[in-house]
C-alpha cells in the first residue's frame, strides 16, 4: 500500500510538471519522497524530476541537491544511462551557479558515458551542454572586464572557441539525426558565440539558420530571439539600417507576444540604432517608448539608461533644456540605485551641459578652445569603467570646438 502511494504521488507530480505547474508538481514529488520507496530506480526518477522542477523554478541550490542525490543513486545501482543523465543535469545546474570547472567535469561524464553506450542522442545533448558551459564561462570572465565583442583576453577567447567547437560537433550529429529543433538551438548559441568572438559574419549566418528553423516550427519566441541577435550582429558590422529592420521585427513580435520587457529592450535597441544613424528624432521617439515601459515595470536601471540616452539625443539636437532635464533625472536615478559610475557620468554630462549653457553667453572663442584642450586631456584620465557601465560610451555629449561655435 505504501509503495503504491509513493508511486501515485510521483505520477501526479509528473502530470503537474508536464502541465507546466512545477510548483504543485514539487509538492507531490516531495510527498512521494516522504513516503519513500524500496524501488531505487523510481526514487532516482523522482529525484531527477524534482531537480528539474527546481531548475525551472530557478531554485538552483535545491536543483543541485536533488540532481546530486540522483547521481549518487544511479551510481549505487549501477545504472549507467541514469548516471549520464544525472551528470548532464548536474552540469547544467552547476553552470547556472557559476561553478564552471565542476560543470565541465559533469558534462564530460555525460558525454563519455553516452559514447560508451553508443547513444548518439545523448552524445549530441552532452555536446550542446558542454558548449553552453564554455559559452557561459567565457561570457562570465568577459563581463568582469570591460571588453567589446571581439576584443578579448586569451582565456575568454579560448573558452568561447571551445564552445563554438562543441556546438559544431553537436550540429554534425543532430544534422545526421535529422533533429531540426536541436539544430535550431545549436545555431542560435553558435551565433551568439561567434558574436562574442567578433566573427560577426559567421554570427549572421548562424542566426539566419536559426531564424529559418524557428519559422519552420512556427516558434515565434525563437523567431524573435533570432531577429534580435541578427540586429545586434549587424550593428557591429556597421550595417545600421539592416539592424533597425531586424529590431523592428523584434518589436513587432514582442508586442504580439505581449512581452513588455522585451518590447522595452527592442525600443532601446532601436533608439541606439537611430542614434548611430544620426536620426535623433527617431532615437528620441524610441527612447521615450523605452522610458515609459521601464517606468511601468519599475525598472530603475532601465529608466536611468533611457534618461542618459535621451539626454545625449537632445544634446545632439541642441535642445539643452530637455538634455538638462534628463541628465538631472539620470543623476537622481543613479543615486537612487547606488550606481556610482552612472552618478559620475551624469555629473560629467551635467557639467558639460552647464558649460555649454554658460558658454552661450560668452563670445571669447579662444578661451573656449583652450578649455576644450584641458577637457580633452582630462577625459583621458576619466575612469573608463564609469563611462562603459553607464551605457556605453557613446559620448555624443562631448562637444567639439566647432559645435560649440555653432551654438554661439
Amino acid at each position: 500500500r505504501m509503495e503504491a502511494s509513493c508511486l501515485e504521488l510521483a505520477l501526479e507530480g509528473e502530470r503537474l510538471c508536464k502541465a507546466g505547474d512545477c510548483r504543485a508538481g514539487v509538492s507531490f514529488f516531495e510527498a512521494a519522497v516522504q513516503v519513500g520507496t524500496e524501488d531505487l530506480k523510481t526514487l532516482s526518477a523522482i529525484y531527477s524530476q524534482l531537480g528539474n522542477a527546481y531548475f525551472y523554478l530557478h531554485e538552483y541550490a535545491k536543483a543541485l541537491e536533488y540532481h546530486h542525490h540522483d547521481l549518487t543513486l544511479a551510481r549505487t545501482i549501477g545504472d549507467l544511462l541514469g548516471e549520464a543523465k544525472a551528470s548532464g543535469n548536474l552540469g547544467n545546474t552547476l553552470k547556472v551557479l557559476g561553478n564552471f570547472e565542476e560543470a565541465i567535469a559533469c558534462c564530460q561524464r555525460h558525454l563519455d558515458i553516452s559514447r560508451e553506450l553508443n547513444d548518439k542522442v545523448g552524445e549530441a545533448r552532452a555536446l550542446y551542454n558542454l558548449g553552453n558551459v564554455y559559452h557561459s564561462k567565457g561570457k562570465n570572465v568577459a563581463s568582469a572586464g570591460t571588453h567589446d565583442p571581439g576584443e578579448l583576453p586569451d582565456d575568454v577567447r579560448n573558452a568561447l572557441q571551445k564552445a563554438a567547437n562543441y556546438y559544431e560537433e553537436n550540429l554534425t550529429i543532430v544534422t545526421e539525426l535529422g533533429d531540426r529543433a536541436a539544430q535550431g538551438r545549436a545555431f542560435g548559441n553558435l551565433g551568439n558565440t561567434h558574436y562574442l568572438l567578433g566573427n560577426f559574419r559567421s554570427a549572421v549566418l548562424a542566426h539566419e539558420q536559426r531564424l529559418l528553423i524557428a519559422k519552420e516550427f512556427g516558434d515565434r519566441s525563437a523567431e524573435r530571439r533570432a531577429y534580435s541577435n541578427l540586429g545586434n550582429a549587424h550593428i557591429f558590422l556597421g550595417e545600421f539600417e539592416t539592424a533597425a529592420e531586424y529590431y523592428k521585427r523584434t518589436l513587432q513580435l514582442a508586442r504580439q507576444l505581449k512581452d513588455r520587457a522585451v518590447e522595452a529592450q527592442a525600443c532601446y535597441s532601436l533608439g541606439n540604432t537611430y542614434t548611430l544613424l544620426q536620426d535623433y528624432e527617431k532615437a528620441i521617439d524610441y527612447h521615450l517608448k523605452h522610458l515609459v515601459i521601464a517606468q511601468e515595470l519599475n525598472d530603475k536601471i532601465g529608466e536611468g539608461r533611457a534618461c542618459w540616452s535621451l539626454g545625449n539625443a537632445y544634446t545632439a539636437l541642441g535642445n539643452h533644456d530637455q538634455a538638462m532635464h534628463f541628465a538631472e533625472r539620470h543623476l537622481e536615478i543613479s543615486r537612487e540605485v547606488g550606481d556610482r559610475s552612472g552618478e559620475l557620468t551624469a555629473r560629467l554630462n551635467l557639467s558639460d551641459l552647464q558649460m555649454v549653457l554658460g558658454l552661450s553667453y560668452s563670445t571669447n572663442n579662444s578661451m573656449m578652445s583652450e578649455s576644450r584642450v584641458v577637457e580633452n586631456s582630462l577625459s583621458g584620465t576619466r575612469p573608463r569603467v564609469g563611462r562603459r557601465h553607464s551605457m556605453e560610451n557613446m559620448e555624443l555629449m562631448k562637444l567639439t570646438p566647432e559645435k560649440v561655435q555653432n551654438w554661439n
Binding site: L7, S44, A45, G188, N192, S228, A316, T400
Partner: protein, 63 residues
C-alpha cells in the same frame, strides 16, 4: 577615443564601427537549456509490467 558629433559622420561611413562607439544595448538572446528527463512511468512500466506479466503467466501455468 570618444565619439564626437563632428567626427561621427566620417566614422559612420567606414564599414565596421569602431567598437568603442557601440552601445551595449544588445543583450544576447540565448537558446534554452535541455535537461535530461527520467520518468517514474518508464521504470514502472518496464519493471512492474514485466513482473505483472510474469506473475499472470506463471499463475496460468500453475493452473
Amino acid at each position: 577615443p570618444c565619439m564626437k558629433p563632428g567626427r561621427q559622420a566620417a566614422e559612420l561611413q567606414s564599414k565596421v564601427v569602431p567598437s568603442k562607439q557601440i552601445l551595449h544595448s544588445d543583450n544576447m538572446e540565448m537558446e534554452p537549456e535541455t535537461m535530461e528527463t527520467k520518468s517514474v512511468t518508464d521504470y514502472f512500466s518496464k519493471l512492474h509490467m514485466g513482473s505483472l506479466v510474469y506473475s499472470c503467466t506463471s499463475k496460468r501455468k500453475n493452473k
